[in-house]
Point group: C2
Chain length 345, copies 2
DNA sequence: CTGAAAGCGCTAACAT
DNA sequence: ATGTTAGCGCTTTCAG
C-alpha cells in the first residue's frame, strides 16, 4: 500500500514495460491501430489497463488547442454565491449531462463584475463558454476580453460575436396580459425591473403594451419598477398596489418572485388573490406551483433551452461553421388559480 | 480585428519584447521580485499588461503537482441530470464561492455508477474532490480508484481515507419525534428509505426510536420504507397511512419531499394536516416553507456545511496534516404549522 | 509498422 | 540579477 502523493502512470511507463516507444503507445491509446501491429496493440492495451493508465488532460490540452473544457459562468458577488433561481439550476444540470455525454468537462465559475472573466476563460484554454444570467452590459464588457466560442442565455445583447438563446419574451408578455384581458380585466398594472437593466423585461413590457393596445385599452398603465428581481420587492409592489392603486384589478409581473411577493403583499393587507387582485407571473419556477394561490404564469421548456445551448456550442466547436446568432424558444401560459374571471357567466 | 483562433500571449512573447529570458519573466509574473531588478520588473509588468498576458493553467498544472482544480461530484444517471435538491444547489453555490476566493477552480461532474470516477479525477490532476449525495457503498467503491484528498458530504461510509462532513442525523430524528411526543402524540409512524441505502436514514431512525423509548412508547411502530426520496413516494405513504393505519396520529419523515407528499396524500383523501395527521420532515428545503400547511421540519446550517467541507479540503491541501475524519454539524427543529397539539390546554 | 526529434508553456535547479 | 538546462506528459512531424 503506497501512502502519500498519487503517482500517475504515464505513456513512458507503459512504453518501458512494453519495450516500445512512447509514440507507439500513444497511437494505441488514441486508437490509431492502423499504425501499429496487432500484437503490439494487444500488449500495450493490456499493460495500460493493468497499470490503470489515464491520459493527462492537462498535457493533452497543452499540446492540442482543445481542452475539452467548457466554462459555465454565472454572475456572483464576492459575498454571495451564485445560483439564484431554481431555474438556472435545472438548466445547469442539463448542460452538465449533455456535455458529459459528449466527452466534455464543465468548469463552473461565478464571476463578479470586479474581477474580469478573461483570467478563468483563457488560463484554462476553454474550448467554449456558456453565460447564464448576466446583464446585457456585462456581457458586452466581458466579451471584449476573449474570443472563445460563446453561447449566452437570456440576453438581448447584440449578438455579432456569439450565439444567443432566449425565450420569446415579448410573446410571453403578450400572452400573460392577453389572458388577463380575456378574463375581463381592463386596469392591468405592470411590475418589472427598470428596462435598462434587463432586456428581457423590456421585451415583456412590449408584449404587455401590445396586448393592451390590441384590446383598445389606452391611458397610462400603472407601472412599478424595481432594480432587482426579488420576493421582497414583490411584496413592496403588492402593498403599494393595494394602497395607492385601488382601481387596478390585475397585474402582470415579469418574474414569479415578484408575483408571489405581490400576492403576499396583498394578503398582508387583508386582501385576497385573486378576488381583490389577479396576478400573472413569468418563469414557472417551483414557487409558482406551490404558492397560494397557485400562480398562473408563463412557462418554457427548460430542457430544450439547455440542449439548444449545448448543441449550438458543440456544433460551433466541431465544425467551425457559423451558427445562427439568435435562437428563440417558444413560451406558454400555464393557468392556475391566481386570475379571477371578471366576466359574467 | 483578428478573426479566428485566439492567440495566447506566452512568457516567450514577453521575454522577446523585453529582451530578457523566459525565466526572468516567469519570476516577475510570480512575484519573486527579490530575484529580479526593479527596472526589469517594471518593464516586464508593463509589457505583460499591454499584451494582456494570462498564465496557462494547463502548463502550470503540468509542471507543478497542483492544478488548483477541485472536483465536485454528484450522482447522475445517463438519462437524468444531476441536482436533485434545492439543498445541494445551495451547497454547491457556497462551495464555488469559497473555492474561488481561495484561487481554486471548480470542475462540476455528474457520475453515473457505470462509468468510473477515476478518469475525471485523475486525468485533470485534481487537487481534491468533494462528493455530494452518494450512497455509502458508491463512495467506498469509487474511493478505491484514486487517492486525491477527498471530502464527503452526508455519508456514514467508513472514513479511514477521507473526511466526512455530516449532520447529527440521530439527534435530528430524536428532535423531530420528541417534538411530536411533546405535543401529545403516541402513535407516530416513520417514513424513510430502506436503511441499507442511506446511512443518514438509519441514523434518523435510531433517533426516532430513542425518543419513542424515552417516552416509554413500546410496540412495533408503523414504518413505511421507499427506495428513493421523492414526492410521489411521499404521496403513496400518505394515502397508505390514512387507509391502513387510522390509529396513527403523527409521522416523522426523513425528508421534506416525503413529508410534503404525505400531506398531499392525506389531503387527496379528504383529510387535513395537521388535524388528521401531524407531520414533521427533515432538511428544511424551500418547499417546507411554502407547503400547505407550512412544514415543521429539521434544519441545518447550509453555509456552515459547505464552508466546513471547503475548509477541510483546503487545509488538507495546504498542510499535509491529517484532518479529523468526521465533522458533525448540529441541527435544529423549525416549528411551523404541520403539527397539532393533542394535549388539553 | 516503429522510432527520433521537437515543442506545447511553464518552472525548478543550478549555473554565471 | 539574469541565463541555461532540463523536463512535466503528450502529440505532431518526419525518418527509417
Amino acid at each position: 500500500m503506497e501512502e502519500g502523493v498519487q503517482v500517475m502512470t504515464t505513456l513512458k511507463d507503459i512504453a518501458k514495460e512494453a519495450g516500445v516507444t512512447v509514440m507507439t503507445v500513444s497511437n494505441v491509446i488514441n486508437g490509431k491501430y492502423d499504425k501499429v501491429s496487432k500484437s503490439t496493440v494487444e500488449t500495450v492495451t493490456e499493460i495500460a489497463r493493468r497499470l490503470d493508465y489515464v491520459p493527462s488532460a492537462t498535457a493533452r490540452s497543452l499540446v492540442a488547442k482543445s481542452s475539452r473544457l467548457v466554462g459555465v459562468l454565472l454572475p456572483a458577488t464576492k459575498d454571495e454565491g451564485i445560483f439564484l433561481s431554481t431555474h438556472n439550476v435545472a438548466v445547469i444540470g442539463v448542460i452538465e449531462r449533455l456535455l458529459r455525454e459528449k466527452g466534455y468537462y464543465l468548469l463552473l465559475r461565478g464571476v463578479s463584475a470586479a474581477e474580469g472573466v478573461s483570467g478563468t476563460l483563457r488560463s484554462w484554454n476553454l474550448d467554449g463558454a456558456i453565460f447564464i444570467g448576466f446583464l446585457d452590459s456585462e456581457i458586452q464588457q466581458m466579451r471584449a476580453s476573449f474570443d472563445t466560442p460563446l453561447v449566452v442565455l437570456e440576453s438581448y445583447a447584440a449578438h455579432g460575436d456569439f450565439m444567443n438563446v432566449r425565450l420569446d419574451d415579448r410573446r410571453g408578455g403578450y400572452l400573460a396580459t392577453h389572458h388577463l384581458i380575456q378574463n375581463g380585466h381592463r386596469s392591468i398594472a405592470f411590475v418589472g425591473t427598470h428596462k435598462s437593466e434587463r432586456g428581457v423585461d423590456r421585451e415583456r413590457y412590449e408584449g404587455y403594451l401590445e396586448a393592451l393596445r390590441e384590446a383598445g385599452i389606452t391611458g397610462d398603465p400603472v407601472t412599478l419598477l424595481s432594480h432587482a428581481v426579488s420576493y421582497s420587492n414583490g411584496v413592496e409592489a403588492g402593498t403599494k398596489l393595494r394602497r395607492e392603486h385601488p382601481e387596478v384589478t390585475a397585474v402582470f409581473a415579469t418574474a414569479d418572485q415578484f408575483a408571489v411577493g405581490i400576492m403576499d403583499g396583498i394578503h398582508s393587507l387583508g386582501g385576497t388573490v385573486p378576488d381583490d387582485l389577479s396576478v400573472v407571473g413569468f418563469d414557472n419556477l417551483e414557487i409558482a406551483a406551490t404558492s397560494r394561490p397557485p400562480l398562473t404564469t408563463i412557462t418554457q421548456d427548460l430542457n430544450r433551452k439547455a440542449a439548444t445551448a449545448v448543441d449550438l456550442l458543440l456544433q460551433r466547436l466541431q465544425s467551425k461553421r457559423d451558427q445562427p446568432g439568435e435562437t428563440i424558444l417558444d413560451v406558454e401560459l400555464v393557468e392556475r388559480k391566481s386570475v379571477r374571471n371578471l366576466k359574467p357567466a
